[in-house]
Symmetry: none
DNA sequence: TATGAATGAGGGTTCATTCAT
DNA sequence: AATGAATGAACCCTCATTCAT
């Protein structure tokens, strides 16, 4: 039996994926704004521009949709785009990464995701763990590897490079991230971020830079 | 007939306070475990061992009860008990405070509160701000003052002591707090905490200690 | 065992009656404003200035209290004070009564009572019946008797005086009471009432006055 | 396979309207019996044969449903069907209308609606006003116009025809409507109504008929 | 596939009533 | 007698989910 027109029958994979993405986009907005419990499937459907029933064609239930959102956030938030090879000078490397990192971290989108995932981590440990591993820990690991290369180049002296990476990243957050997520201060300006990252870089190098032999 | 104990007779302020505390205790457990939206007044009533109606005798609504819980946590979590005057040696001072701080921060109770308050900060900014100000910022301030004293004693050389305090505190969290709140690692052991705080202290002093003149 | 002071022991009947009246006063305000279902015992207690428990010392339940209120309204609304003997001239008699009647009927207090009792009459027929009988029907009866006296005096010619009384009273309401209870018009002014009652009186006398023999 | 009936297939506007009507029917029964506050959405759902949730698919809240009920009653109660042109003889016209009017007014359905709307008029003035205007006032207006035609035909002599209409309608209620709404007497018989309306007609014509010139 | 009508369990909240004091 | 803390049933309403179309 020939189909009269493709649009009247089973959707093509493209259409399927498009609608799926549409749902994810709407759901992300609602989940990140209201959290898992505060988000309602009705509001998600409206935000996605589909019917409530359609949500259940693509996702088994609210939980599955939420997991998919977190999964998507893990890939889309831009944590993978930090470029550690751009610079070989350790100071510029740290400053460049640090600023990009804090800028990303303090975007409303990131902080909403962190809030939302952190909030649910007690009841959905795998979701929390997965987000941490593939977003934060992975970034720590990549910075750690960059530091390792500097150690091997004799520029830095560090025992545990991954730990040092975490140490640097945390000190870059000083006075910036926590007050921002708790809504105690507005989103930090690039200038403020640069100053804080500068200070963190100085402290880090004071501790780990191999004294120049000159 | 002599009364066995006064608590069996007087129904008034003591019992009133007692029941209030009983409700707060139950509500804290439920709110901190499930978050604001995930907690139900019915579950809270059950946890507190009172009827649902009784909740509304003591608190106007769910929001008020939640605010009271956060308020209580602000006072009860032990952030105010850090003792900065115990030691005058800067290194021991930093290590002592850092360990106590991370120990407190990484207790399940603290991390649950942080998760819960952080999650709601977007919809209840005053709650988030209040928690940050009176728990975290206050601790930063107190450490900053301690550092200032060291600066005045000529031991440290720091421009912005409060910022330096935040920097130290954040670097103490390296590899410990974030994986813990995201449920990626179990509660850190005291040994691990000690090692991390040691490292943070070394880095901090490398950057800010005035070289001994000897 | 002698009582130390009367105020410390069983209250005197006076006190008892006073508190009872106090409750009735508060309850009347609340019941008449919100209706039986819309009124809450808590609000009544507050309006009466007593505790909720005290209400149940004086009245078995909400229903009993409501019945008592209606009973009190039946006596207190001033429907019994119409004076038919003040005037012997039939025209002045009708006008005088008509104005007093409509004035009373269109007071907020009367219309609230009528609304409230009428609303509940389907579920509490005895309450409705009692109110009608002892307020409205009684007034009709008294006017009917006054008319009868005029008939006996040869001034009016009426078969059924009680029915004629009702007829007069209803025609006095024309354009006044219904729009007022339905909140379509404000409380009528005395002037408007006088005009309407005048017209009703003229119509009534046109139909029932014995033509003067002169 | 041919469909047996269209109603078994199309789920859309017909069924939507049908269910809406079904809800309105159930809600009317409950609201008119118990009043706004006495009616519960659960009972309405049961009476309508739908689930509680379905009510909220069709109506935003209890208040909206109630307003819709009153609106429907305004149209469905048959107040618009009085025919003033059927008769040109003024006496037969008044008698015919008067009987139809009182018959309608004293049906349980009308008196329930009046009770319910009157009861809520203090808290929902627009509802009360709307009901009065579009049911009672409109009928008064239409009778007033019919009277005006009789005035223009030289049959009646009336200054304010709308007021006279109200006067006639009120006097038709004498001894009938009030005792009925207050549940003091049963629904009046057609014979009783006829007698009362006859009397009202006689009184009205005695006052307003232009004496025949013969 | 996509819909949206329909559901019923459960949400927060109120309230008439009781009872120990 | 008077209280007010306590209750639990019922209130209105929301929501995740299902299902016929």
């Amino acid at each position: 039996m020939p189909r009269l027109s493709p649009s009247e029958a089973a959707p093509t994979p493209d259409e399927h994926c498009a609608k799926r993405r549409q749902i994810l986009t709407g759901a992300r907005a609602v989940f990140l704004e209201h959290g898992f419990d505060g988000a309602s499937m009705g509001e998600i459907a409206k935000a996605a521009g589909v019917s409530k029933g359609t949500l259940y064609v693509y996702f088994a239930d609210k939980h599955s949709l939420f997991v998919a959102i977190v999964e998507a956030e893990i890939h889309d938030q831009g944590w993978g785009s930090f470029d550690f090879s751009a610079d070989t000078d350790v100071e510029r490397q740290l400053r460049g990464f640090g600023q990009a990192y804090i800028q990303t971290l303090c975007k409303p989108r990131s902080s909403s995701a962190i809030r939302t995932v952190m909030a649910i981590a007690e009841r959905m440990p795998e979701v929390g763990r997965s987000y941490y591993e593939r977003v934060i820990a992975q970034t720590v690991r990549r910075l750690g590897e960059a530091l390792k290369r500097q150690v091997e180049a004799g520029v830095l002296k560090i025992d545990d490079c991954e730990f040092a990476a975490s140490q640097f990243m945390m000190s870059c957050q000083a006075s910036l991230f926590l007050p921002f997520v708790f809504q105690a201060t507005p989103q930090p300006t690039p200038e403020r971020i640069a100053a804080v990252v500068d200070s963190a870089t100085r402290m880090f190098l004071a501790a780990y830079r191999v004294p120049s032999s000159s």
